[in-house]
C-alpha cells in the first residue's frame, strides 16, 4: 500500500524509528513553557508541523503563488501543478483509485457537511435513517441533525459497551430498510477506541448502504487504505496530520461523487454559466467552488509525503508502545479512572482523577509545561454515556517519548498533592 510501502520495503520499520530525529524536525518542540520544556500531549486537537511542511508552504508563497486552473501564465501553471500534485499525493496516501476521488475541503467537519448536504439531501426522504455510533464527535452528529431538520430524516445511534467499544451486534440490528447512510468514527477522539471498519462496511454493504468514515483521528496514526476498508466516503483534517489548518480531504467513491449534486456554487465548479442555467464541472472541481486553500493543499501534500517516508506502520508501532506505557503508568496512580478501555485503541488516553476537575488537572499540568486537553472534547454524548462532565485527555503523536509520559505522571502527582483531601 502506498502509505507504508516506503517504510515496509525495509526490514523492521519500527526498529528504524528514531524519535529524536523526528523531534528535531519540529521547531516548536524546543519551546519552553513557564520555564519548563514543552511536553505537547494535545495532538488529538492539533499536531505540530515539521520543517518539510513549513518549508513547503513558505516555498509555495515565495516561488509559485498564483491562482489556479485559469491562468495561461507561468505562475498559474506552477500553482496548478502544485495544487493538483498535492491531490495526487493524498490519493496515494489513502490508496484511492483516482485523484478525482479526492476533494479538498476545510477539514473533516466540512467534508461531513458536504456529504450531508449533497448526498444526504439528494437521497433521503422523511422517515429515512442515518446511523451513527454513540462515540461520535459533534462534527458527525450536528450535520445530520441539520439534515434531519431540512428533510425529516431520523438520526439513529448505535450504543457503546462499558469499555467504550461499539456494540457491533446492536449496530447491525439498527441497519434497516430505511437506513440511507452509516457515518462512523474510525478512531474515537474521546475514548481512543478503534472501530472495526471492515466489519461495519461489510454489514452495511450487504444491505446496499454506503458508509462514511470520520478519519480525523485515525489518518495521522494508522495506515489508511480506503479500498481495503471498503468505505464509500472518508474524511480527515490536514492540521491533525502535521499539515496546515484550514485544509482537509473528503474521499468519495467516484461513482457516488459523480451522482451527487454540488453543494456550493461559484467559480471553478462550473462547465458553463448563463443566467438561465449552469452546468457543472466534472470531479473533483464540481465540489471545489471558489479559490481553494492552495497553500494549505501544498502543505498537506508535503505532510502526507513526510509521513509516508517515515511510514505509518512504524508510527503506529511507536505510538502503540507509548500508549501502553502511558495507560499503565497513569492507570496505576491512585484515584485515576481511565475512560475508554477498549482492547483496540490508539493514541488517546482519556481519564478522570477522583475529586479533581479535569480543568484543574489541565491547569496544573500546564504550569509544569505539559499540554493536555480538559473538557468534553466536542463529544458530550460520550461524556454522558460514561457519567462524567469532562475528562482529561493526553493524546500522542509520533514525536512523543516515554520521558514525556513520565513528565505527565510527575505532573499528575503534583495535581494530587495540591488537591489532597
Amino acid at each position: 500500500m502506498p502509505a507504508t510501502s516506503l517504510a515496509s520495503g525495509f526490514p523492521s520499520a519500527a526498529a528504524r524509528f528514531d524519535v529524536a530525529r523526528v523531534r528535531a524536525e519540529f521547531p516548536i518542540l524546543a519551546t519552553r513553557v513557564h520555564g519548563k520544556p514543552l511536553v505537547y500531549l494535545d495532538n488529538a486537537a492539533t499536531t505540530q508541523k515539521p520543517r518539510a511542511v513549513l518549508d513547503a508552504v513558505l516555498g509555495y508563497y515565495t516561488t509559485e503563488n498564483a491562482n489556479i486552473h485559469r491562468g495561461v501564465h507561468y505562475l498559474s501553471q506552477q500553482a496548478t501543478e502544485a495544487y493538483e500534485g498535492a491531490r495526487e499525493k493524498v490519493a496515494r496516501f489513502l490508496n484511492a483509485a483516482s485523484a478525482r476521488e479526492i476533494i479538498f475541503v476545510r477539514g473533516a467537519t466540512e467534508g461531513i457537511n458536504l456529504v450531508a448536504q449533497s448526498y444526504g439531501r439528494s437521497v433521503v426522504r422523511p422517515g429515512d435513517e442515518i446511523l451513527v455510533t454513540g462515540m461520535e464527535h459533534h462534527s458527525n452528529i450536528v450535520p445530520w441533525q441539520l439534515l434531519a431538520e431540512q428533510t425529516g430524516v431520523v438520526l439513529r445511534v448505535a450504543p457503546l459497551t462499558d469499555a467504550g467499544e461499539l456494540d457491533v451486534a446492536a449496530f447491525e440490528r439498527l441497519l434497516g430498510e430505511r437506513t440511507r447512510l452509516v457515518s462512523v468514527v474510525h478512531l474515537s477522539n474521546a475514548l481512543g477506541t478503534v472501530n472495526p471498519i471492515r466489519r461495519i462496511t461489510a454489514a452495511a454493504h450487504r444491505r446496499g448502504i454506503p458508509v462514511l468514515v470520520d478519519g480525523a483521528q485515525s489518518a495521522p496514526h494508522l495506515a489508511v487504505d480506503v479500498r481495503a476498508l471498503d468505505c464509500d466516503f472518508f474524511v480527515f483534517s490536514g492540521h491533525k496530520l502535521f499539515g496546515p489548518t484550514g485544509i482537509g480531504v473528503l474521499y468519495g467513491r467516484e461513482a457516488l461523487l459523480d451522482r451527487m449534486p454540488p453543494w456550493q456554487g461559484g467559480g471553478d465548479m462550473i462547465s458553463s454559466v448563463t443566467f438561465e442555467r449552469s452546468t457543472w464541472a466534472g470531479l473533483p472541481a464540481k465540489f471545489e467552488a471558489g479559490t481553494p486553500h492552495i497553500a494549505g493543499a501544498v502543505g498537506l501534500g508535503a505532510a502526507v509525503d513526510w509521513l509516508s517516508r517515515i511510514g505509518l506502520d512504524a508510527v503506529a508501532a511507536h505510538e502503540d508502545e507509548l500508549l501502553r506505557y502511558a495507560a499503565a503508568e497513569v492507570g496505576r496512580i491512585p484515584g485515576v479512572t481511565l475512560i475508554g478501555t477498549a482492547p483496540e485503541r490508539a493514541s488517546i488516553l482519556s481519564f478522570a482523577l477522583d475529586g479533581v476537575h479535569a480543568h484543574d488537572i489541565g491547569q496544573v499540568l500546564d504550569l509544569e509545561g505539559v499540554a493536555i486537553r480538559a473538557g468534553h472534547h466536542c463529544a458530550q454524548p460520550v461524556m454522558q454515556r460514561f457519567g462524567v462532565a469532562a475528562t482529561a485527555r493526553a493524546s500522542f503523536a509520533l514525536y512523543n517519548t516515554r520521558a514525556e509520559v513520565d513528565a505527565l505522571v510527575a505532573g499528575l502527582f503534583k495535581v494530587k498533592q495540591l488537591f489532597a483531601q
Binding site: 476537575h357 504550569l367 462532565a389 469532562a390 495540591l418 488537591f419 483531601q421
Partner: protein
Amino acid sequence: MTGTSALYQDVILEHNRAPRNFRRMDDADRHAEGRNPLCGDQITVWLKLDGDVIADVSFEGSGCAISRASASLMTAAVKGKTRPEVQRLFQRFHEVVTGKPAGDGRREELGKLAVFSGISSFPVRVKCATLSWHALNAALEQGVELVSTE
C-alpha cells in the same frame, strides 16, 4: 507569587475541599442555574430574600476548583447584604478577576474574595470564577432561571 500558587491559593483550595452553603434549598424564594457550555460546569444558586436583603443563600453543582471555591466564598460574602450592595460587590469582583486597575481601596471592599485576583493572569478561567455570580445575579433579577457564560 507565580504559577500554581498564584491561582490555587490556600483559601481557594480549602473552600473547594469544604464548600460553605453547599446544599439544595427547598424553601428558596428564587433560584437560578449557571452553565458554562465550554467546559460543562453547572451551578445552581438558591436565595431567600427578606425584603431587599439576602437572608439565606446556597448553591450546588459541579465544576472546577475555581468555580466551586468562588461559589462558596460568594455565598459567605453576600449573606445579609442588600441587593445594591451585592451588585456593587459583583462589579468590584469582576474588575479584579479581569485585571482592571482597582484603585480607591476597591480591592479592600472585596475582603476574602480578593484571593481571586490571581485569576486575571489566566483569562480562560475568569468564566469559572464568575459563573456563580452570574447565577446569583440572574436569581436576583427574577424570571431568569438559566444563564450561560457564552
